[in-house]
């Protein structure tokens, strides 16, 4: 029997091929070893990074060296204007030698909801400057369409609030976005545990991006492995096509030849 694996079904974003449909964040792990072991256990090929001013308090550990075997996806986390996000992206391109950018432009510090107007503006400008732009955005089909129209390489709608662990809050929206999107849809933020990642993939997401669910789990390495399996399971189930829901029982064993009278 042929092996049934997701390796028959690579993810392609902006012409780059990924065997794994999990992208993983690198922040908030208990230590460097747990971070590296978790990334390995997740089988992700791409990791997210942030760009921050150098602190005189010291350099901390060298994550760039630690994760040198992985593709870096720098973010613009914390930026509140297109202007700041563009400069951060330019610095990230130089620091990490990649033109890929996870574009975040935040409109509200409490909910970390995107500022759509600034996000669209920054997307357009960064694409003009040759970036491969992956915007973190609302789970809104029209916003996702606008971003794709501007040339975003993928759209990354939120499952739910960043770091909340509430899972996919609006599955109907995510499904709608996945059905209509001309570019890959990466569900970003809100994943709390493996079943949330499965659901995102079953709804048709091309990939899942998560961080806190693994970094803050009681056992991050185990949770990372669980997430790796979850995206594969969800993807396979999506491709396989689920049975319809019905309100009554349907016996699965043959009804003829029952023993007894």
């Amino acid at each position: 029997m042929a092996d049934v694996t997701v390796f028959d079904d690579p993810l392609v974003v902006a012409g780059e091929t990924f065997r794994s449909r999990l992208w993983i964040g690198t922040a908030g792990y208990p230590n460097q070893k747990v971070l590296l072991d978790s990334v390995r256990a997740s089988r992700a090929e791409m990791v997210t990074m942030s760009i921050r001013r150098v602190s005189l308090a010291g350099q901390g550990f060298d994550t760039v060296r630690l994760l040198k075997d992985y593709k870096f996806l720098p973010n613009t986390a914390g930026c509140e204007t297109a202007r700041d996000a563009i400069l951060t992206a330019e610095l990230a391109r130089e620091a990490l030698e990649t033109n890929w950018i996870k574009l975040e432009v935040i409109g509200d510090r409490e909910t970390l909801y995107p500022d759509v107007q600034e996000l669209l503006k920054a997307t357009e400008e960064l694409i003009a400057r040759g970036f491969t732009v992956l915007p973190y955005c609302n789970d809104d089909p029209v916003v996702c369409q606008r971003l794709a129209d501007l040339g975003a390489a993928a759209v990354m709608p939120m499952g739910s609030l960043i770091g909340s662990g509430m899972g996919v809050a609006n599955p109907a929206n995510i499904e709608l976005i996945c059905r209509r999107s001309p570019v890959p849809v990466v569900v970003d933020a809100g994943i709390g545990t493996a079943s949330d990642a499965v659901i995102a993939m079953e709804l048709g997401a091309a990939a899942v991006l998560l961080n806190t669910a693994v970094a803050k789990a009681a056992d991050p390495v185990r949770m990372a492995a669980a997430m790796g399996h979850a995206v594969e399971a969800g993807r396979l189930a999506y491709l396989a096509g689920r049975i319809p829901r019905r309100g009554r029982a349907e016996p699965s064993s043959p009804q003829l030849g029952l023993v007894g009278s």
Partner: protein, 68 residues
């Protein structure tokens, strides 16, 4: 000479970006993952030696850190 580095006023003797990095970074600080902007424009690594610094310049020195 007075400069603004990462939003803070500094007195520096550096003539170019490479010299400023020597002043600002701890000895032995890895230069991987570092990037510099001078008055809002990124200075490519290959230009650090040539990029002259003048009084009143605004410099951003950043590095890649863990992120989500």
């Amino acid at each position: 000479m007075e400069l603004t580095v990462n939003g803070e006023v500094r007195i520096s003797q550096a003539a170019n970006v490479a010299e400023l990095l020597k002043e600002e970074l701890e000895e032995g600080h890895s230069q991987r993952g570092i990037a510099v902007a001078l008055n809002g424009q990124v200075v490519p690594r290959a230009e650090w030696q040539n990029a002259r610094i003048s009084k009143g310049d605004r410099v951003e020195i950043v590095r890649a850190l863990p992120g989500g």
